[in-house]
């Protein structure tokens, strides 16, 4: 088991190294000159040269690569060309808000998606199954950004039930102290028992969370259903029934545990999708998160920032995969 984890870990490291190499390559083949961008539009040749030295772009490629690698390992992702701030610091400021959205979406996917998939599989080819399939496949077929726009139109503009965007109302922000512990607002509110801010924030969270959670819920429900159907065809399920075990037990215990591995993978996968979905949705909801940051970086071609986010999300993804793999490894069928 330990040796397996070590092996997976080293694979993860290899993958990360590969990711860093690819991003380095992308960064070096782009046509525009980062030094010129750093120095600003009216910079003289000397200033550009100075910027080039500052950014280490005057060194041979190998040296640059080595430096880049070392920096990445230290968690130093370089400087934003736009703001001249360390990307690491900027990410630190933006990640929590996005992370919170992703976590909430993940929880929704787990508590809604999985049961939905299970019932759908249980009722295969019955009305409930058709409805749930239509819902889950529909959920993964909707353009997220579009859903966000329409939710705003309905709940803010027409019904005036929920706020348009942001995390807290302005009044609240000025009158009350906004707790900052982890940077994840709802969580911080709970930690500091700041309920006024909590309930105000909660209203702001509803629309973005629904928009973002839709995809993972659908994906998880769909995958759980098909994984479960596969398992339900196995001999040991028929055998379990032949021993007179109750159908409920067979479904929820015997079959479900066998789908754990694939469900874990789907959940990880859905996290990756969710993260990227926030890139499309955060701007719509004025969410102070990573997605908003990327959107700006993309429009201003702040490529170190784009790459910084890429490396960060990839690292998350690799770690999550590792976790999923370890969960799967708990499956006794995987011989270690």
């Amino acid at each position: 088991m330990i040796s397996y984890i070590i092996r997976r870990l080293s694979l993860g490291i290899i993958v990360l190294l590969g990711v860093i190499t690819i991003t380095f390559t992308i960064a070096r083949i782009i046509p525009s000159d980062p030094a010129a961008k750093w120095a600003g539009p009216r910079a003289t040749q000397e200033q550009i040269q100075k910027a080039r030295e500052h950014l280490g772009l005057d060194k041979p490629l190998i040296v640059q690569y080595w430096r880049y690698l070392k920096d990445c390992i230290k968690g130093d992702l370089g400087y934003s060309l736009r703001t001249h701030q360390p990307i690491k610091e900027e990410l630190k400021a933006f990640i929590p808000a996005t992370l919170e959205l992703v976590i909430i979406a993940f929880i929704f996917a787990t508590i809604i998606g999985i049961p939905l998939g299970i019932y759908s599989a249980k009722m295969k080819d019955q009305l409930l199954d058709h409805l749930s399939r239509l819902f889950s496949i529909g959920a993964v077929s909707l353009p997220t950004f579009w859903v966000g726009l329409f939710l705003q139109l309905i709940f803010y503009n027409k019904l005036e039930l929920l706020p348009l965007g942001g995390q807290v109302s302005n009044e609240i922000k000025i009158l009350y102290e906004i707790p900052r512990v982890t940077g994840m607002l709802l969580f911080d509110c709970i930690l500091t028992s700041n309920w006024v801010v909590f309930f105000d924030a909660l209203k702001h969270y509803i629309l973005p969370c629904i928009t973002i959670a839709l995809y993972p819920i659908g994906l998880v429900a769909r995958m759980t259903r098909s994984a479960l159907l596969e398992v339900l065809n196995e001999d040991y399920i028929i055998a379990a029934k032949s021993y007179g075990l109750k159908d409920r037990k067979v479904l929820w215990v015997y079959a479900l545990k066998n789908t754990l591995g694939s469900t874990a993978i789907v959940l990880t996968l859905s996290l990756g999708y969710t993260l990227v979905d926030t890139f499309l949705v955060e701007a719509i909801f004025s969410w102070p998160g990573l997605g908003n940051y990327v959107a700006t970086a993309v429009t201003t071609l702040d490529y170190p920032a784009i790459i910084g986010v890429t490396i960060f999300s990839t690292a998350c993804y690799v770690i999550l995969n590792l976790v999923a793999d370890i969960i799967i490894a708990l499956d006794p069928r995987v011989r270690l």
């Binding site: 600003g40 703001t83 609240i172 909660l202 701007a283 429009t299 071609l301």
Partner: protein, 523 residues
């Protein structure tokens, strides 16, 4: 185990939601005495919080925190005193003396004096970031006495104008002058302005609080707090103003503005802007090196449709290169009209065969009006048999492409907005027309010694003999129009939507996007 955990989480969330819906009303926020002005801004409120460095959106925040020596007054069209009470210059405009206002306090308690002014400007000049180049003419800054400062220039320049610049002309507290950019970017600021920083969230929002010791004093109906917040979606900004949540916003789409005009609780405020939209021809590439061909293209541009239908009247047709409201603008200059017949004639005259001709048009992505304009232009050119390929790109990619060392690899037509760093037409002439060794903004790649000479002379004269300078500026424009170096698409208007109770705001073209919140009040 897992089931129990799920259950607990679910109950927590459900409970929270129920409590949240009911709790929202019960914990009604106690009637606050603070009056808040909420400015929903299209983009990040600032990029670099260092006033010597920032060369972008940041002025909308910084002009409320810091002040400059002088300020361009939109009502009089003149430079008015601010931190400088009065100023003089010698005859050839190379030595400028400013008398600094007394009893002005910085947010950190320091007093404003000549030394503070000298250090602030020198800091900006030393850093050489952002718009620091505007001080290039300054040779030396001398402190004459506590409240008098003298600028010695290496060549004549309108320093009163320069001191009113939107960027890079802020006066910083002596305690902060020695700090590096990082200190500012942690959210620190120390100016003399009416508001000080309460809280900043990088990339998102800035909250400003009234500075009680502000030298101009306070009235009751002014705003206590200012929130400037990034709201990228036009529809979101519009909804915020409609619902009375935000006090003011700008950059709305024309349809949103049109709808808001109908709304009695919203004021649509229009003002002049010194921004105009210009199309650049790649004159170093065939067939665009042919002036007749360029004239044909100019005649094919849908000027009226753009102003009337795309901008819905929220723009003027350009006349010449310099936008109205700025000296050097002349309404009597010739301007191209949409006239496909003439275009056809010039096309024939140029001898260029339009068959199979593909022209590439680039502009910065995300600009709705430019995109629509480009599409209309595309339709018109198609009638001439020319295929226009529209390429929306990042500004950096647009720019990179335009600076390509091989003219054939550059775009054919490039659309760009241009606005001055301070109130002077020289910004257009020097940047866009004057020949450049390394291409920067002369994106029609004009190389004309005659024009260069005229521009240089006009610049010299601008500090001393405005009338003569203006004549030269008009001359240059005539030549540019005749050669059809540019498509003069339109001069923008500055259009704002504000809550009906938000008063005292007037857009100032010298400070694009800035709301001087001190001037505003609620009713």
């Amino acid at each position: 185990m897992k089931k129990i955990l799920c259950l607990v989480i679910m109950i927590c969330i459900l409970g929270a939601i129920i409590a949240g819906c009911s709790g929202g009303q019960s914990t009604q926020v106690t009637e606050n005495k603070l009056k808040i002005a909420y400015y929903a801004f299209i983009s990040e409120p600032y990029i670099d919080f260092d006033p010597s460095v920032e060369y972008s959106n940041g002025i909308i925040v910084l002009h409320n925190i810091y002040e400059t020596l002088t300020r361009y007054d939109v009502n009089t069209g003149k430079i008015e005193p601010l931190l400088a009470e009065e100023w003089t210059s010698n005859e050839d405009g190379t030595v400028w003396t400013f008398r600094i206002r007394k009893d002005v306090k910085f947010h950190d308690g320091a007093e404003l004096n000549a030394e503070a002014v000298k250090k602030s400007i020198e800091r900006t000049m030393d850093l050489q970031m952002g718009a620091a180049y505007i001080w290039d003419c300054v040779d030396e800054i001398k402190v004459k006495d506590d409240y008098t400062v003298e600028f010695v220039l290496s060549y004549p320049a309108p320093l009163d104008l320069i001191a009113s610049a939107g960027y890079a002309a802020f006066i910083i507290s002596p305690n902060a002058v020695d700090k590096d950019s990082a200190w500012f970017n942690e959210g620190n600021a120390a100016g003399t302005g009416p508001y000080k920083v309460q809280q900043v969230t990088k990339g998102e929002e800035v909250i400003l609080a009234k500075f009680d010791d502000y030298w101009r004093g306070w009235k009751d109906n002014q705003y206590d707090r200012v929130i400037i917040k990034k709201i990228p979606e036009s529809s979101s900004r519009r909804q915020l103003v409609e619902k009375g949540e935000a006090q003011i916003t700008s950059g709305l789409s024309v349809t949103d503005i049109k709808a808001l005009r109908e709304n009695p609780s919203v004021n649509v405020i229009e003002g002049t802007s010194w921004t105009n939209i210009i199309g650049f021809f790649n004159t170093e590439k065939k067939p665009l090196d042919n002036a007749d061909f360029r004239r044909a293209l100019c005649y094919a541009f849908p000027y009226d449709e753009v102003v009337n239908d795309i901008k819905e009247g929220m723009a003027y047709k350009s006349v010449g290169l310099i936008p109205r409201g700025l000296w050097g603008h002349d309404d009597n200059l010739m301007q191209y009209e949409t006239d496909l017949q003439k275009a056809e004639e010039y096309l024939k005259k140029s001898g260029v065969n339009p068959e199979g001709l593909k022209l590439e048009l680039t502009f910065t992505s995300g600009t709705e009006e430019l995109r629509n304009m480009a599409q209309l232009y595309q339709v018109n050119l198609k009638k001439l048999g020319i295929e226009l390929q529209i390429q929306e790109m990042n500004w950096d990619n647009v720019w990179e492409k335009s600076k390509n060392s091989k003219p054939e690899d550059r775009q054919d037509i490039l659309f760009m907005q241009w606005w001055p760093d301070y109130a002077s037409p020289m910004s257009w002439l020097y940047s866009l027309v004057h020949s450049e060794e390394d291409i920067l903004f002369n994106l029609s790649y004009i190389k004309d010694e005659n024009l260069d000479a005229m521009i240089e002379e006009a610049d010299m004269l601008s500090a001393t003999d405005r009338a003569e300078a203006e004549k030269l500026v008009i001359e240059v424009q005539k030549e540019v129009l005749d050669k059809a170096y540019f498509i003069h698409a339109y001069d923008d208007k500055s259009v704002w939507a504000a809550d009906a109770g938000f008063k005292g705001f007037k857009p100032n073209p010298a400070y694009e996007g800035v709301v001087f919140f001190y001037d505003t009040y609620y009713e």
